[in-house]
Symmetry: C2
């Protein structure tokens, strides 16, 4: 039942690399193929028809590469085009919205969840609807935080500028602090969320700043982690996991393979493709993730497939 | 892509009805077929070979009934036989352990999770392993609470006896309360869990008592809710959801069909089968769940197929 084929991951830009990172952490035996449509990012400002058409071109590339599952690591595409893509392709397709919404619904104790996302994602109310699907009793406060993506892409992931920008962005949701450090709420007290869902793939890179601003009483939930968990479960249920062999006790040949819990996993490959500038993608990815994305290939979606 | 076939739900007894209840709540358009092997319950005291063989007989019945997915709502079978069953059947099979473990890993803020379950489930350490799979940094405290299933089956779901039994059962995990109502911990302070996973399908029936004993600061996570969410996501990803048609504005013919968010869903059927006494199953199910299980059929697994 083991299946060595790669998992396809698609995003309009580099933000989906946070999802890729969680997939690698959660499922180290899996190979991956990442497509970023950086030349046409961001998708959030485009009409739905373009979002469907552009993402279909990218998914055509992944499907033609014989991936065993596709993760749409893009909130806009997850909100707008998932149903259509699922009807078109035989391969199982995960979005990031449902797993994130499920995680937030599970994490909240007070049944008050805040969602921060780009203006386009907030306008779609996709997280609102998905959380209500999980539990209609949960109050959902969506809030657009347009300043955070530019902050991340500028590499400002910590320090005074990041802290001030995040504090300003979260103030309408969390309230302002008074002299004693307690929050003063411009919203009714019912808006005092105990769970904050990071509804944009860029935001996990600001997680530690967001946690410090929100305080330890607020659970920070991100779609990247939840989607990686959902993918692991999907692979298990559908019998699509990469092959693993139990390591023989005498086998200490020191192969350059990953190992976990006494198992040996096969050779793993990770490829990244971008429609944008390869050097810029690599530079940004390496600044955000270290040296995890050494090989970046160029892709022309307009002529691809 | 819509698929009207039922979802199969299997448990060794009636506990899986808590999972069925959550499936009905989360996915009201879906039909279900429940098989309880009450004649041979509980499975927790049986050798693995019997657990595999008995549950295979039940899953053979479900597979022969053309179910589109199977939920193994039994912790023992989920721990012991899931991989083998997934290799045997073409239909996707969900267990309750992974969804519950994922939910607990997402819900904890302090990274300290308590798991209460039957002695057999605790001995298997299946929840421990599954939570560590999600996040190795989480400390997992497993605790057997054998008094709770008899309490539920006696219908003692609230009141002084239930409260005292639950308090005694949870004391080693949560500590005892001092005169001020604060917990005194017999375990090291690190055992102060902030999330309690109900690792037995009977326990959600004691949820309100457990929550009142544990206090509002402890998140109560149950596998039933998490499994119903995972099933909804699986049906969506694999294109297996039951058909829904958008209700036409003029269609106010008052059909006896469920509706949600302006949609009409097709006729839904729910069947329950037990290998045990039909009257006893119905009586217990109705005491626990109201009138949701009017029709209970008899099933002989030894000769079934």
């Amino acid at each position: 039942m083991a299946d060595p084929r790669p998992i396809g991951v698609f995003d309009s830009g580099v933000g989906g690399l946070t999802v890729l990172r969680e997939i690698l952490r959660r499922s180290p035996a899996e190979s991956t193929l990442y497509v970023g449509d950086n030349a046409r990012a961001p998708y959030g400002v485009r009409p739905d028809e373009e979002v469907v058409a552009f993402s279909r071109q990218a998914l055509d590339v992944l499907a033609a590469s014989d991936v065993k599952a596709i993760v749409v690591a893009c909130n806009t595409v997850s909100a707008v085009a998932l149903g259509e893509h699922r009807r078109r392709y035989d391969v199982p397709i995960l979005g990031v919205i449902r797993p994130g919404a499920t995680a937030a619904a599970l994490a909240t104790r007070s049944r008050r969840v805040g969602v921060i996302a780009t203006p386009a994602t907030v306008r779609s109310h996709a997280y609102f609807a998905a959380i209500k699907d999980e539990n209609p009793a949960i109050e959902v406060y969506e809030h657009a935080t347009p300043a955070l993506v530019p902050l991340v892409e500028a590499g400002e992931l910590r320090g005074p500028l990041a802290e001030q920008t995040v504090a300003d962005a979260l103030a309408p949701l969390l309230g302002s602090r008074d002299a004693n450090g307690e929050f003063i709420f411009p919203l009714p007290p019912s808006a005092k969320v105990d769970t904050l869902l990071l509804g944009c793939t860029h935001y996990p890179l600001l997680r530690s700043v967001i946690q410090s601003i929100a305080g330890q009483r607020v659970a920070i939930v991100d779609s990247a982690t939840a989607t990686a968990s959902a993918l692991a479960e999907l692979l298990s249920i559908n019998g699509l996991e990469a092959p693993r062999t139990t390591r023989a006790p005498a086998d200490d040949a020191g192969q350059a393979e990953h190992s976990r819990a006494g198992e040996t996993i096969g050779p793993v490959t990770h490829r990244q493709m971008t429609t944008g500038d390869v050097g810029a993608f690599r530079a940004l990815a390496e600044r955000l993730f270290g040296d995890a994305v050494a090989d970046v290939e160029s892709l022309d979606l307009a002529v691809a497939r």
